[in-house]
Symmetry: C2
Subunit: 429 residues, 2 copies
């Protein structure tokens, strides 16, 4: 690739290599904590969790009806009904005080413990009651309409695996399994340091710090505990001191700004001065986001991203999300991926792994995709209009009209082609 | 459909009709509240929010380089370079103290305000510096590498629409648009009442209340503020009193248990006794979940679901999710839907809209789906093993082997066919 694409780097490293190095070199063990099962939804489980008991604990009626001995109704038919004496009833939650002998039946309601001696339930609507007798018109097998003890969950069954995120159904299963507290990973604590005089009040030409809160919100969504440490001026010593001072309070640090190798290369310089700091990577074939870098300091990752929000967002997707998943050993949740037809060519610069914000819309019940005509990694409006992410690999020149590609949806699909796709905005390359 | 499928109801209403009636009859207006933009992620926006300013506020350098007058470099080439005198530099965040006249250039860094008189930036790597002069070897158009004032966001531009959930990029855009607080809907307050003697301690044959926490967790995930009000015994008056007493504290109430029309039909009876209670529906062609019902009391919905967790979950998906979305006017977020090949027939009972928990796995890079051989709406283990939901419409008899269907993923895709698919467990129909 041409030198101008390198943005001052002598070489850009392949994204996959850099990521793999990051994941290998970072070996933090997140602490875990016990939380009430009811509070565990959304948390990542820290240990394989097994059932403490059989569930249901006893045989139970699966519906409202008559508890019978199946042998009594084995040959029942409309012409030869089994006639059974109703000897009582059992509600759900009651301990049955009766026993069913041959020729007898008891009314039982959904969830009721099956009375001793009974082994099948005839639904009310499949039987005819006459005074204190019930006429059963059809046969029923053993355990028909009975929830068997332990049929749902057995003591020792795996309920939820380490690395899974607790969903509502896990909560129900854990409770049935007799578990009230569960071990989950503590939320990773991530500190955010935004570097740049332009972000400080009083500098004149002041720029609002939008990238800090963007990262904060992204980490919140990801299940982390982010902290906005604040803005640090363009000063190598101040950056270095800040990182050294706060590192012990966090599992991960993220810095923004000051990462280009151009006129100012403050953050890498500042980090390299810290004792035991080892460069993991700096300068990646990502578009946007090629200035991304990472150091390992005292075993903790310090990630360096661009101060431009769109480039920082790619850094989060490309490095922080996989890293957080590694720390919690989390199985990635399913992502909303759709196949779409390319409506306007997407051009990639070969050698770069590019993250495109694209627009997905439905027309005549087909899904189409167009890249936004906006570009430039500082352009936040692309983030508002784009509703999907297209990742194009470094060895692909792009996609032509009518190609089919997969994209990840990050917002609702547009109904019809949005008009803004016709506007072209002059932006930096 | 046969009478036995009706479970004691004289008729089951079509799901779509019941839902449409629910959404029409419930006309609650949720209150809204102002929150800090940084705390807004995940909340639903309550009013269209427009930019308060242009962004960027001034023309800025899009990269590190030399700010020049484009007219000076119009015919620059390697054989005929434009030679410009470097008169100073501007850092990001500084107010430029210099003006560029013809024949002059200034060093500028990414994000720096363009000095008066300059209108293009030549990247450092595309120019050659000799002492206090720079040799520009290629022409640059007006505004080349300049982020124009207002090019990203214009005052009055729509930043985020009512009904959208705030994502990290919205946070960045809102800050750039000069907005620090945003109006979001208050989280819907939903009270959960679990009915059943079997859930009360001391009854003997006690059953753990797993459906209450399941609903609580589901509502948390959905962005509500749920409250577990507690367990109420199987007593019409107690149910009625509890609902009347707590109704004013909530936007929505959900009851579980006591909804079948069989031996005990306590909740509908209890609700009908409350003043101004109007039945919206009861008895739906849903599998599982046919006993679902709803009343409108003092304008508020009181939903009645089965006490069995799997059936209650279908009630939440089928009724509560659309209702919450209506209240917040929320655009549904994209769901992870995949096309899969049916590997084992799925049989539906015509007339029922059925929610199947199914297993999706990848084999030889194709996605396959099989229904779980487990059934019965009380069976929580289906929820643990199934990783997708297949909804089969009432007029469809099922899907055959090799059919292609769409399912919604609720968990990670299995690698290879899981062994548990071969186990068949005898459960109630």
């Amino acid at each position: 690739m041409g030198r101008e694409r390198l943005g001052g780097f002598t070489r850009l490293e392949k994204y996959e290599d850099a990521l793999s190095r990051l994941l290998t070199q970072v070996n933090i063990t997140l602490e875990s904590e016990k939380v009430l099962v009811t509070d565990a939804v959304g948390r990542v489980v820290a240990e394989d969790t097994y059932s403490l008991r059989d569930y249901p604990p006893v045989d139970r009626a699966a519906l409202d009806g008559y508890a019978v001995k199946s042998l009594d109704v084995l040959s029942a038919s409309p012409s030869n009904p089994a006639i059974l004496k109703i000897v009582g009833s059992v509600e759900a939650g009651e301990t049955p005080k009766l026993t069913i002998s041959s020729g007898e039946a008891a009314m039982v309601f959904t969830g009721a413990t099956m009375p001793e001696g009974s082994d099948a339930v005839i639904p009310f609507e499949e039987a005819v009651r006459k005074e204190s007798f019930v006429y059963v018109l059809r046969p029923a097998q053993k355990y028909k309409n009975v929830s068997r003890a332990g049929e749902d969950i057995k003591k020792g069954d795996l309920i939820i695996k380490r690395g899974l995120t607790v969903r509502p159904w896990h909560v129900a299963a854990l409770i049935e399994a007799g578990i009230t507290e569960i071990k989950v990973f503590k939320k990773p604590r991530v500190g955010i340091i935004n570097v740049g005089n332009e972000l400080l009040a009083g500098g004149g030409g002041e720029i609002p710090n939008s990238t800090g809160p963007l990262i904060y919100a992204y980490l919140k969504e990801l299940g982390c505990e982010p902290v906005l440490i604040g803005v640090v001026p363009d000063d190598v010593e101040e950056i270095s001191n800040t990182v050294s001072r706060v590192l012990r309070d966090f599992d991960i640090l993220i810095t923004t700004g000051g990462t280009s190798v151009g006129g100012k290369d403050l953050v890498p310089e500042a980090l390299s001065r810290i004792k035991n700091a080892n460069l993991i990577f700096h300068g990646i074939n990502l578009r946007p986001g090629r200035t991304a870098g990472a150091y390992l300091i005292e075993g903790k990752p310090v990630l360096m991203f661009s101060g431009l929000p769109v480039a920082a967002l790619v850094g989060l997707e490309a490095f922080v999300k996989p890293l957080i998943r590694k720390l919690t050993e989390a199985t990635p949740p399913p992502e909303p991926t759709v196949r779409v037809r390319v409506r306007r060519r997407v051009t990639n610069i070969v050698g770069f792994k590019s993250f495109f914000r694209v627009v997905v819309y439905r027309e005549n019940s087909e899904l189409y995709m167009e890249p936004l005509r906006l570009s430039g990694s500082g352009i936040v409006s692309t983030l508002l209009k784009g509703n999907a992410i297209l990742i194009v690999d470094e060895n692909i020149e792009g996609y032509d009209e009518d190609d089919q590609v997969s994209v990840t949806l990050i917002g609702p699909i547009y109904k019809g082609r949005p008009e803004f796709l016709d506007q072209e905005i002059q932006t930096p390359p």
